[in-house]
Symmetry: C2
């Protein structure tokens, strides 16, 4: 039924809908629900220790025999510095105990990568750049497929050079971390409607559109713009299978079109989240923001305590600009609904 089949043939899936590998929100249940419904479920593994990652991959395999993906962050240097006094103030306010020391919360990449290879994960995806070229060769040697994120045409070309099989074109609207890796992040803020056709014109591999796509209207638009599939994260944020705190889920369901912003204050790298007090006050203290991912590390107790207290003020609530359109349905039902609506919309676009 799909107008283009290059992506679904390559990934061996039924529907060209990739659930975005949201670190902290994705679960084996969500991944399996999406894959069982014919899409590609993806687990965000960047912050998962290698042994745990192996057990999660095996859990996914118990829940589905369909292809799925695991996402890692391409390796980067980390640096740790001072503890901002603002965090201390807020810890006191929430009675959250001492501010934790920064610890490595991502990676180690090589060990995570080895687990994915050993477990023969069908689809590897990378954010913040391609994996090293030898790593991509190893993925291809086991017959798996490599997806990676581009936020500009130049980045898409660089990913192709590195051997990536499929480009995820991440538009400005997308929730979570900007995948920008080759240019200052301000240069990588290109809306989905402008980015997808330009990347589709530049590369000969399948392009997945990401950013602002929340329902069948967005899927049809993505195909019209030249994509062969979509990656949707925010659309799955209200699904019961994910792992987000209730206060975050409620914020997504109440989120208006203008309520998200790209900010570096949660992690040290630019990412789109729902505006809250933490963003407002930290944006006025930008010099206190630590580099990625130390900022995420020293903030972790505050974020968790705030969520446990059902207080949205200090929770990192990643979401895209389409959040208002999120529907609280099980992932499988959501996919089925989108497919039916896709058929209705494409039929309605025909000649009268």
């Amino acid at each position: 039924m799909w107008p283009k089949t290059e992506l679904i043939d390559l990934l061996k899936i039924t529907h060209p809908i990739i659930q975005a590998p949201m670190v902290g929100a994705s679960t084996p249940e969500l991944v399996a629900a999406v894959s069982n419904a014919g899409g590609l479920g993806s687990y965000g593994g960047a912050a998962t220790a290698p042994a745990k990652l192996r057990s999660i991959i095996r859990q996914i395999r118990e829940l589905t025999d369909k292809p799925f993906g695991v996402n890692l962050f391409a390796p980067a240097v980390e640096a740790y510095q001072l503890t901002p006094e603002l965090l201390t103030k807020w810890h006191n306010e929430l009675d959250a105990g001492p501010v934790p020391e920064p610890i490595p919360i991502l990676g180690p990449f090589v060990d995570q990568f080895t687990v994915l290879l050993e477990e023969k994960v069908p689809v590897f995806s990378f954010h913040f750049g391609p994996a090293p070229i030898e790593a991509i060769r190893e993925i291809h040697a086991i017959g798996s497929i490599v997806l990676a994120t581009a936020t500009t045409v130049g980045e898409a070309n660089a990913l192709i050079e590195a051997g990536v099989d499929v480009i995820i074109a991440q538009g400005f609207e997308a929730g979570g971390h900007r995948g920008t890796f080759a240019v200052p992040y301000e240069h990588g803020l290109i809306g989905t409607a402008a980015l997808v056709p330009q990347i589709a014109d530049a590369v000969s591999v399948p392009v997945i559109a990401a950013g602002g796509i929340m329902d069948a209207r967005g899927i049809v638009a993505a195909f019209a713009l030249g994509a062969s599939g979509v990656q949707m994260g925010t659309a799955f944020l209200a699904c019961p299978e994910n792992n987000i705190p209730e206060v975050y889920r409620q914020a997504v369901l109440k989120c208006k079109d203008e309520d998200t912003v790209i900010t570096e204050v949660f992690s040290g790298k630019p990412a789109r989240a729902i505006r809250n007090r933490f963003i407002r006050e930290m944006e006025n203290n930008r010099d206190k923001v630590l580099p990625f991912s130390a900022q995420m590390s020293i903030g972790r107790v505050l974020y968790q305590t705030s969520a446990q207290q059902s207080n949205p003020d200090f929770v990192s609530m990643w979401a895209g600009q389409g959040a208002a359109l999120a529907e609280a349905l099980p992932a499988g039902e959501l996919i089925e609904k989108m497919i039916q609506e896709f058929l209705a919309i494409t039929a309605s676009l025909q000649l009268k």
Copy 2:
């Protein structure tokens, strides 16, 4: 042939393609070419003195008997201040004579508006908010239609309250001035893919999608997202009928996806333009930027001199994020090409 006809019926046009009313770039020839091809040509009249505006409207009527639009900026307070020393430095560098005193280069709104009423312009469009409610009543009394720009769902609702007939949903990708009027402009930076379906869900009047739409792919996407038509500006920037300096036209044709930025430095209000030396150096001197439209007024000699010298450094080259896709075709041929491609794309989206 169009899947929805509410907009074309209302505007009495054949194709739901509105040429954006680009101040300084639109000409009677461009407006007429678009209207004669079945779209809606629009003249950007905000910076045109009332008597001149009347003669331009009459010129348009000599070139076409089809409907067309004229755009004005909703009235706002202007303020004038000091002359930045940077401008003096650059005037010396280009041998451009003295920096001019700021003069009112927009309006006067009431006189412009009176001309449009007297000339019975078929379509009035407004940027930076709706016209006063009595003005909209007067437009309706002569049987004309009112379009206005929204950059958020809240703004769309406010325009409906004011009596506007059609909402132009201006996505983040769009070239030129952000139309934001009800919120800080940072809140009105919503990508077309996310903005159009949310506005379409919120209002019952026709929605025109704007921002990043450069060809039939974008037009199909806009319809899929819930729009009844598109407004395209950058797509017409390489047409021979417009009025932009050759150095600007060449910059559009060479523009890459990441080469535009939203900046206040040309006019005092945020607008998307092709990056150049003026933007880079003025952004480092933001405290020297005058309010809208005084900044545009005192910069005018520098911009013109730079253009005359075929030097892109100081020219305000408004363009959207899709500029790389602009085609140097006459406007009528461009529209005909887009219609043929629209038919091919919608057919390709059907069931296999």
